[in-house]
């Protein structure tokens, strides 16, 4: 059963009955909010709705149901979407309204409606190539009606979403880009030598504009509010808000650069947010490398 909630003229959801109950319990939804059950014609207050509905039927023990967590947007967003199989194999499904277009990392499309038309754009030319991100971003347009696209990034890990409201600026580690709305500018211009030393790809992508932006990690993702100073290993940086000052430095002078194994860190200062990943690809590569079968030629 899918329930849409309306508060002050704005629709939220749809949610499952269990989600609505939880939202009522947590105060996120009010009993006075109006609810609409899919397939019904009338809107009724949630208080009435949750009383009249049958107790959540205990689901039969579906074997193999551990599909991970599903995230649907609760805050501001431009597209309807959900992220499934979080955090291990996060998978993004976006509904693209009729005749609109979504930008998606090349070769990440896993499923789509048949009226979705793909176009390849060489975004940013050479600098994009140097940015470590694949040379192309594909544009998927919903022709003649709304269409759905399922997006599977290459690395195992988590995914997050931010909604840019025009004034926002987000810096992304180049390999973290998944998808964005057409009003989001993804700029791969040279970020100076700070970017050069970040270890994981030469460039940071600067995302500005208006709309949805999705990015992914290798490993789990942690969102850290920064107020003051904060230090992150460069290869664990996924994204950060533009208001933060950052500098790349070795964690404890030259000696520890070579001896501590910590390499370079990114020091953030100011107020904002940093997203980090709990694993980093080079560590995985170094760990698997000795086990590669070697050819003799």
């Amino acid at each position: 059963m899918q329930i849409t909630i309306n508060r002050n003229g704005e629709n939220y959801g749809p949610y499952s009955l269990e989600q609505v109950r939880e939202m009522l319990d947590s105060g996120q939804a009010q009993p006075t909010d109006m609810g609409h059950v899919e397939g019904e014609s009338e809107w009724v207050p949630l208080s009435e709705l949750s009383n009249n509905l049958p107790e959540a039927v205990e689901k039969p023990p579906v074997i193999g149901s551990q599909d991970g967590d599903t995230y649907t947007p609760t805050g501001e967003h431009e597209h309807e979407f959900r992220i499934e199989c979080k955090p291990d194999f996060s998978y993004l499904t976006v509904q693209v309204p009729a005749n609109q277009t979504l930008k998606v990392e090349a070769s990440a499309m896993a499923t789509m409606s048949t009226n979705m038309v793909m176009k390849t754009k060489m975004k940013g030319g050479l600098s994009r190539f140097l940015g470590g991100e694949s040379l192309f971003i594909n544009e998927f347009s919903a022709q003649g009606g709304s269409a759905e696209i399922g997006i599977a990034p290459g690395s195992p890990g988590d995914m997050d979403h931010v909604h840019l409201s025009g004034a926002d600026e987000i810096f992304l580690q180049s390999s973290a880009y998944v998808a964005s709305g057409m009003q989001v500018n993804v700029d791969s211009k040279w970020q100076g030598f700070k970017g050069f030393f970040s270890g994981e790809g030469l460039f940071l992508l600067r995302c500005t504009g208006h709309g949805d932006l999705w990015f992914n990690t290798y490993g789990a993702m942690i969102e850290i509010p920064v107020d003051g100073n904060y230090v992150v290993d460069t290869s664990h940086v996924v994204a950060f808000t533009g208001g933060l000052q950052y500098s790349v430095e070795s964690v404890g002078g030259l000696k520890s650069l070579f001896l501590s194994g910590e390499g370079l860190v990114c020091r953030f200062a100011g107020q904002g947010k940093v997203w980090i990943q709990t694993r980093h690809p080079m560590a995985f590569a170094n760990w698997t490398y000795p086990f590669r079968p070697e050819s003799n030629n």
């Binding site: 551990q66 599909d67 991970g68 194999f89 499923t111 789509m112 048949t114 060489m122 599977a152 290459g154």
Partner: protein
């Protein structure tokens, strides 16, 4: 027989509790642990030639293991797939299910495993000339790298060829380019499968080719 799948979606494993007299059949190498009193017997995967066909055409093992409980109490066997990812179970009641080669993990004795001609189009899309089918009555366990999501298809839907794990036999599969010629060659999508009909498909939320594309540039 009672069974549960735990550890998903990253490292799913199947616990099967066999009642006295019951048997479960697992892909060779699928057993990770079992009660010492269970009897295990390696057999050809449906006879010598049928086994060869499945091994070479369907990506499965030549031998399968039969785990039989000849004791008088319930005994547990734990079976796993080789790759990280999730496992699903499906109850067959005479119907058929088509599986991606290599996806099969285990089944109950009433289930027959077969290989079917998939066509040159399928081979062209690097999905193999043959597909694996399971049919009969009983439970089948299958798995793949990534999470597994079930989708109802009414009409047509497009799935990247490396993401399709299972589908109902009435679904028609057609291979096509992902976009125009330029986009398909340079956009990294290549070939996609156009699924037509009314029924269920199961897709995996990660692919081996995606993993390889992600890690290979870092291995030099």
């Amino acid at each position: 027989m009672q069974s549960t799948i735990e550890g998903g979606p990253a490292f799913a494993y199947i616990n099967i509790d066999l009642d006295p007299g019951e048997t479960v059949i697992g892909e060779s190498d699928a057993m990770s642990s079992m009660a010492a009193d269970l009897d295990m017997e390696a057999k050809f995967n449906g006879g010598f030639f049928a086994g060869l066909a499945k091994a070479f055409l369907g990506g499965e093992s030549l031998f399968v293991n039969h785990f039989t409980n000849n004791t008088s109490s319930t005994q547990r066997v734990t079976l796993v797939q080789g790759t990280p990812g999730n496992t699903r179970a499906v109850e067959l009641n005479g119907q058929q299910l088509c599986l991606q080669p290599g996806a099969y993990i285990a089944s109950t004795p009433g289930v027959q495993l077969g290989v079917r001609w998939a066509g040159f189009k399928s081979w062209f899309a690097r999905e193999g000339l043959f597909k694996l089918t399971v049919t009969g009555t009983g439970t089948v366990w299958y798995g793949a790298y990534g999470g597994l999501l079930e989708k109802e298809v009414h009409g047509e839907y497009i799935v990247d060829t490396s993401h399709l794990v299972a589908y109902e036999p009435q679904m028609k599969l057609n291979i096509q380019l992902a976009g125009g010629l330029f986009s398909s060659l340079f956009g990294g999508e290549g070939f996609v499968t156009r699924v037509e009909g009314k029924g269920k498909i199961v897709v995996q939320t990660r692919s081996m080719s995606g993993l390889a594309d992600w890690i290979n540039p870092r291995l030099w």
